[in-house]
């Protein structure tokens, strides 16, 4: 659906050059949800804007739905853009228009006749669950509702691709979940290809099929979400995986635990995917002859298994404990002994 070839974007200022996107090759398949993760300044915002020519590439090819976008200008480009919906972090709704009129806006641009517009807008409002608020202005909506309008608007012209530019970064966790559910729903219902950029690991874990990790304008790692994050190769990917597993567990909360439980090493277990099922702990107890005292932790389920951190105390003799740690590593659980903290 989308092919990027040796794509680069260089911003030239008076003093120097900034390479925002550096020789990127990427293929995104039809019907998949593809995530691009990176810290701010990694170039992901520029990359997603290269897909619909809001930024023009310095070198390289951008092919979306069979069209070589970078050769298009004027009317053909505007028509091609109608096949690519875009959702923004700050929603970018027209405050002077109601919900209904905002969703109608792209249809007006595409010169859809009025009767058809009304019908389509009503369908879309239904889809995103905002039929009740048709005549409300954006200023009267919550963040989540605004983003629903943004999504409905992006879908108005039946696009083949939906680009999401940090679509949930301005929302609270609960609203984020509901917006992500809506995106999955749309992806499944219409087979729509979704490209999203984010700095939140959570978003990738929850809905993406494949992921690319971006750093300094380059894609440093890509592949199936599970593979990339089960065996992260690059430092930055490891950091993102940690961000997911650690949640809010920090060393500070563990220190008091060490004082209260002196009889055995305290181990921090990080579950990164499939291994995070209860049997791991059960097997640990049965096979290694240690007892496991669960102190603290948080495990959350996502699309491909469970993620999270568990602080446990292993009790038993030294050789059993050694054996237990080896067993954990074999089962894709990262174990870190904290006793000497």
């Amino acid at each position: 659906m989308i092919h990027l070839q040796q794509l680069s974007k260089i911003f030239r200022t008076k003093k120097d050059e900034i390479t925002a996107v550096d020789n990127v090759d990427l293929s995104i398949r039809e019907g998949e949800i593809f995530g691009i993760i990176g810290y701010s300044g990694a170039g992901k915002s520029t990359l997603i804007r290269l897909l619909n020519m809001l930024e023009r590439p310095t070198i390289g090819e951008v092919i979306v739905a069979g069209k070589e976008m970078s050769t298009l200008r004027g009317k053909p480009l505007r028509e091609a853009r109608q096949n690519i919906g875009m959702v923004f972090q700050h929603f970018n709704l027209l405050w002077s228009r109601t919900v209904f009129e905002n969703i109608s806006f792209p249809l007006e641009i595409a010169r859809v006749p009025k009767a058809e517009r009304t019908k389509r807008v009503n369908e879309l409002m239904e889809l995103v669950g905002l039929s009740e608020r048709a005549n409300a202005y954006p200023s009267e909506l919550s963040g989540g509702q605004k983003q629903r309008v943004g999504i409905a608007r992006a879908l108005a012209n039946d696009p083949k691709v939906l680009l999401c530019d940090e679509a949930t970064s301005a929302l609270d966790p609960k609203t984020t979940d509901s917006i992500l559910d809506l995106l999955v729903d749309i992806n499944q219902k219409f087979g729509l290809t979704i490209v999203l950029i984010t700095h939140e690991m959570y978003v990738i874990r929850k809905i993406c099929h494949r992921v690319a990790v971006m750093e300094d304008g380059k894609i440093v790692e890509q592949g199936d979400v599970l593979d990339v994050f089960r065996q992260p190769k690059k430092q930055i990917t490891k950091e993102f995986v940690k961000q997911m597993a650690e949640q809010e567990e920090t060393l500070d909360t563990v220190v008091p635990l060490l004082k209260d439980h002196p009889s055995g090493p305290i181990v921090k277990l990080m579950f990164l995917g499939e291994g995070a099922e209860e049997p791991v702990i059960t097997h640990l107890i049965r096979q290694c002859g240690v007892s496991v005292n669960i102190l603290q932790g948080k495990i959350s389920r996502t699309k491909d298994g469970s993620y999270g951190t568990l602080f446990v105390q292993l009790q038993g003799n030294t050789s059993h404990i050694e054996q237990a740690l080896a067993f954990l590593r074999e089962n894709n659980v990262e174990a870190e002994v904290l006793t000497d903290v």
Binding site: L77, G85, M86, H90, N92, S96, F105, P106, I109
Partner: protein, 222 residues
Amino acid sequence: MFKQLLPNVNWSNMWEATVETIYMSFIAVVITFILGIFLGLVLYLTDKDNLWENRMIHAITAAFVNIFRSIPFIILIILLIPFTTFLVGTMLGPSAALPALVIGAAPFYARMVEIGLREVDKGVIEAAQSMGANQWQIIFKVLLPESMPALVSGITVTSIALVSYTAMAGVIGAGGLGDLAFREGYQRNNPDVTFVATIAILIIVFILQWIGDFITHKTDKR
């Protein structure tokens, strides 16, 4: 009672002058609104990083606007005498004041339009572009509607300035309340005429302000 307090006021002349002032102000406001939005759009769109980025045109428009905004109005009228006689055929009567009024007010309003347009969120323009909007759609469906409260409050301020410009234009023969206050009130030493003319102008200004505030409120959904 009016006769005793205001012995020198000729009410039918006063009414005629009021109508002339309203006529001059109204036509001038309409033309200024259109011309000012046009100039403001040119200023905004040709500015750096905008749709029609063009240094040359921006610099020329900005210079034109700055020059005509800086000339004191009374001098502008005199400078424009040849232009006005060419355009209207005479220097007398309310219509003759219109070229000077518009040329004096439109640049002033154009700057306010430019400021209003700059307030429009760039993200919204980007969103419209991502939907495949052309530049006219961006201008008429995004830029102007989204800046409407600023455009309306700007034209309110400008129209009040225009009313006072009409008074100055009156002095050189355009008629209206300014002319009446100057010739009948000042030159013939009838302070009551000046007083009533002032009240009439104040009423016009208050009404304009009220209408402007009302529309600004109505259009502002932020």
